[in-house]
């Protein structure tokens, strides 16, 4: 089977940012996402994942390169100044390019 290049954008953010980030993800045209609670440490201090309101979330989205660029740009402009957050992009290959 042929694999097709796609982008994986990973966001680690405070729980309060969840709705805002998912909205942006939908708006740039992604067709799905994966999400789970994580602990973490960063410039805005330790997050120990013991109460749901103060936890961290890791959100993973596979999308087309243009959509990924747009997502990163909007995250950087709209969300980075407001929320504890890290985001990065990497290259992946998928089987069904139409799905993303």
């Amino acid at each position: 089977m042929n694999t097709h290049p796609m982008k994986l954008v990973t966001v680690v953010c405070e729980a309060h940012a969840k709705e805002a980030v998912l909205r942006t993800i939908r708006e740039v045209g992604a067709h799905g996402y994966t999400l789970f609670p994580v602990e973490g440490d960063g410039s805005q201090g330790l997050r120990t994942a013991d109460i749901p309101e103060f936890t961290n979330l890791q959100i993973e989205v596979i999308l087309k390169p243009e959509a990924a660029a747009l997502l990163l740009e909007r995250l950087g402009q709209e969300h980075f100044p407001r929320y504890a957050m890290v985001a990065f992009e990497s290259d992946v290959r998928v089987l069904r390019p139409g799905k993303f």
Binding site: H16, E19, A20, I51, P52, R82
Partner: protein, 326 residues
Amino acid sequence: MDIFDAIRANLLSPAVLFFVLGVIAAVSRSDLKFPEPLYAGLTIYLLVAIGFKGGVAVAEAGIGRVLVPAVTAMALGALIPLWTYPVLRFGGRLSAVDSAAIAAHYGSVSAVTFIAATNYLKSVDQPFESYATAFLAVMESPAILVGVVLGKLATRAAGDDSGASLRTAVHEAVFGRSIFLLVGSLIVGALCGEPGMKKVEPFFVTPFQGVLALFLLEMGIVAGRRLGELRKVGPFLLAFGIVVPVLNGALGVELGKLAGLSLGGATLLGVLSASASYIAAPAAIRMSLPDANPTLSLTASLAVTFPFNITVGIPLCLAIARRVYS
């Protein structure tokens, strides 16, 4: 029993001692930690139990008797941000949006503080209106809405999406899970009444105090972790976090008396006014006033006011009520 005896009695209760133990765990960097689902499970249990019991009590008292004090409670919640905002803005020289955010936290309420207060009243044999849970339910949102409006007015320049923000805050304040659970369980309790209570009493009532003690151990850890941020909030907010609850507590007691509550009920209204929100308000404010600095409001309410109320504020409110009613 004078005020110091009252405080000492409270400090030696299992619930408060476990809270202190939790703070010690956090401060001494022990790796003790409740897993998130355990915290969530305990929260659900406490809210459902207190809501259900309150609902049964509302059904018994009749909605008529609950209405006046409940409306008083709502008004009180909306009022507190109005007087605390200028104090923060001009007394504390905080930015407009931070002042609005903090004012919203202090007008809203902490369910755990309320639950600890009912526990305390029971342990000192002070009767109170069980339907007071209804006040808890209605006092969570008004202050958040007032606070958001204050913040939006103050930052009108960027105010084009004010409507959306307010809607978000309303939605969060009214449909958030804790308020949903509490109001839902109140209604379930009111529909079931005493016969329903009999069935679930061994789970929702009998072990309640013990569960609360265990939960306060976790809350001690959560609050204790924030103590490190105290130096970020400065002396003004520190004093604010202790003095304002006392003033609000006295205000709540007075209004409770006016609204026809018993001594115990007025104490609970005092505790609700004195308490500051650290779950619902942060979530709603984060979404509607995202430029407010969450460290200020959360540290004040969670690391200063919450521990103060759990240890000293609750017996103080009772002492105030005793004076007012004597």
